[in-house]
Symmetry: C2
Subunit: 409 residues, 2 copies
């Protein structure tokens, strides 16, 4: 089965967004052994979309479109694809009812209704993450799947609607498991694992994430049980080689593992943040159920707040500066005392672009993590050479979370 | 001039990386008034690349390729493009010399030399950021530009080599201006502005952002001044119709405008966050230079912290609950008192997925904003029906920022 991903959206051609939908879908299809031979992006233009569809159907037997399902007059994916395959667009009564329910209380304009009009006879892909449903049909030897464009809709729609729709065609079952790494770079990881990456069943592939790495192990089997069983010894092998850097299997982030571990151990956490400005607390509370272990925290952007709210000594600030291991440690101790948390984090640094000096360049970030038994303070390994504000804040927050995991263990 | 960007790389089709080169080039071309009608991605496969080139040259008169210029046997962009346009690949002596100089001290294998072989008669685009030079040629009515794939080479090669090469062909200048909206949905906005969106010069296009909208006004003129002047009356017209929802022109986010406005007025801000868990403070401190107006804040996830740190009364919490307008208001007052900030935000709600009740369903978020002159508290307009935790937190934080703008005005 050969796939072409056809993304519809002038905003991609104008460079306003990257085509991350195509990346996400490509990754998912490649895990399931479906070859993607082309990505095509075209704008919200009926003729050019029609031309692109004519080309795609000649060179692929699966066309997945993203975008152009919304209520505006630019949204013409369904009309164009249906026409190309000789299908009518008709109102789906149950979808109209669902749309009205979703929009109840909101101002529903006539063009909103367009979202409930779909190709005749298609399989509706229910959208629980937005208003526009997707759809799938087979016609003239080609399978067509249409997904909405916004990534936070496209991703679950692909994972939970398109993949199950396709699963009957896979021939066997694919199972993937993901190992998450912190503290090792992608090339070092690939170097150590390259002898396992030569293909076969299961297959092993590394991915670089922002400041982290992930390794995917994928196996194909007759049943999911078979496929899972094939992955087990491979995961064991990887753990033997680089296990010290693995912080979780089939988890989405460091914060997820921190929250899970704290809850398991019945521990609480609080943060005192300067340069990250609330990012660590934000990431911890991204996790549903985090209220069981996250007490809260302080964002102390000023010296006054560090002194008044956290009890950092004015002497320390004067002698060592706000960006110093001493201040980070006093911040962590201070928030622990103020909140009564079991574990506390203190973080202070220079996120940039301004504020750096020769002694303390942009990217200098001190991280302290304290518990009743232990106190650790260290410099976050920010790669200063090519860091920007967002990268510095993200990677130093990640480092703080990795230090929390260490102190809990 | 119509452009197609042809990206060559199996790693994009496997979803290992997003096609950020195409985004960067699209953005640069659109600024210069060159229309990009298609992006195509194909793998490191000679036949499929050849087919893609045959399609591209029919529908574009400028083809920009990225990737496939390196030394490995997968790198076949130059060979394929040259062949398609009837050109030979020949060694360029000066490029061989430069390559030897760049590689001196490194292990130079014979295939490294391939990088100095280029289409006969082409203009070499020197690569000061890597080893493989790019090139450009015109043949059979088509302009072809080839750039290396790694983004840190592709970007400067495009900006400093390809754009100057193209500049003689631009024929006019494009200017775009962007209006940012809060408090109106994309369909309602389009409904009101549809009569302006029928094409022409300037053109008007709406975009949905997460919980916000953007309208782009683009004009083409002989000079940038001409193009700018064409946009002015259109922007005025839009302001007359939906001006009440516009929070900024040519700005990137609500937080950028909040920080800018606070700095202009010499005001400071602090936040007391419950359900957003630090997100508002994080977004404000995303902005470089925010330390001039952001004092910091409190993340009070527990009732104890709301009482102890913010002075919320235990009576209020018991009588109205932690998620109530009364608590939001006392949180805002509390953080204002504790920090001495001019403006303070209090936010408390149910981000979900758990914790909702019939009376207070998931998505119920109270936002209070206080200054010395005014106190406002209101329910954030979260679209509860299809919200998830991340959406609820993001949109209620955006609402809080929009309320800050209102209280400053």
């Amino acid at each position: 089965m050969i796939c072409e991903i056809l993304s519809v959206g002038t905003e991609i051609l104008l460079g306003e967004i990257a085509n991350t939908d195509a990346q996400m879908i490509s990754q998912g299809l490649s895990e399931h052994g479906i070859n993607v031979f082309y990505h095509t992006v075209c704008g919200d233009n009926p003729q050019r979309l029609k031309d692109a569809v004519a080309i795609a159907r000649k060179r692929a037997d699966l066309i997945i479109t993203t975008g152009g399902l919304g209520p505006t007059c630019d949204d013409l994916t369904k009309e164009t694809l249906a026409q190309a395959f000789g299908l009518k667009i008709v109102p789906f009564e149950d979808q109209i009812a669902k749309l009205m329910a979703k929009m109840s209380g909101l101002n529903m304009t006539p063009n909103n209704l367009k979202q409930a009009h779909l190709p005749e006879g298609c399989t509706v892909l229910e959208n629980d993450w937005g208003t526009a449903p997707g759809c799938a049909f087979e016609a003239e030897g080609c399978t067509v799947i249409m997904l909405p464009g916004p990534p936070r809709e496209c991703k679950p729609m692909f994972r939970e609607r398109a993949l199950p729709y396709l699963s009957s065609k896979f021939g066997g079952v694919i199972y993937s498991t993901y190992l998450r790494f912190y503290g090792i770079g992608e090339s070092a990881l690939e170097d150590k694992l390259s002898f396992l990456m030569e293909g076969g069943n299961p297959s092993v592939a590394p991915y670089a994430k922002e400041g982290e790495c992930e390794v995917r192990v994928t196996a194909r089997g007759k049943t999911e049980e078979d496929a899972r069983a094939l992955c087990v010894p491979m995961v064991e092998k990887i753990r033997e080689i680089v296990g010290e850097y693995i912080y979780g299997q089939d988890v989405s982030s460091l914060e997820e593992v921190v929250v899970k571990t704290l809850k398991e151990k019945g521990l609480t956490i609080a943060c005192a943040e300067s340069c990250t400005g609330g990012l660590i607390c934000k990431r911890l509370t991204d996790i549903p159920g985090s209220s069981a272990c996250v007490l809260g925290g302080f964002v102390t952007y000023t010296n006054e707040m560090k002194i008044k709210q956290l009890g950092v000594s004015a002497d320390t600030l004067e002698k060592y500066g706000a960006v110093s291991q001493q201040t980070a440690l006093e911040m962590a101790r201070g928030v622990r005392t103020a909140t009564g948390a079991d574990i506390a984090v203190g973080i202070t640094g220079i996120a940039g672009p301004d504020g750096g000096s020769e002694e303390k360049p942009v990217g200098t970030v001190w991280v302290a993590v304290v518990s009743d038994k232990d106190e650790r303070v260290s410099l976050a390994p920010v790669r200063r050479k090519w860091s920007d504000r967002s990268y510095t804040r993200h990677t130093s927050a990640s480092y703080a979370l990795s230090q929390v995991l260490k102190i809990i263990d």
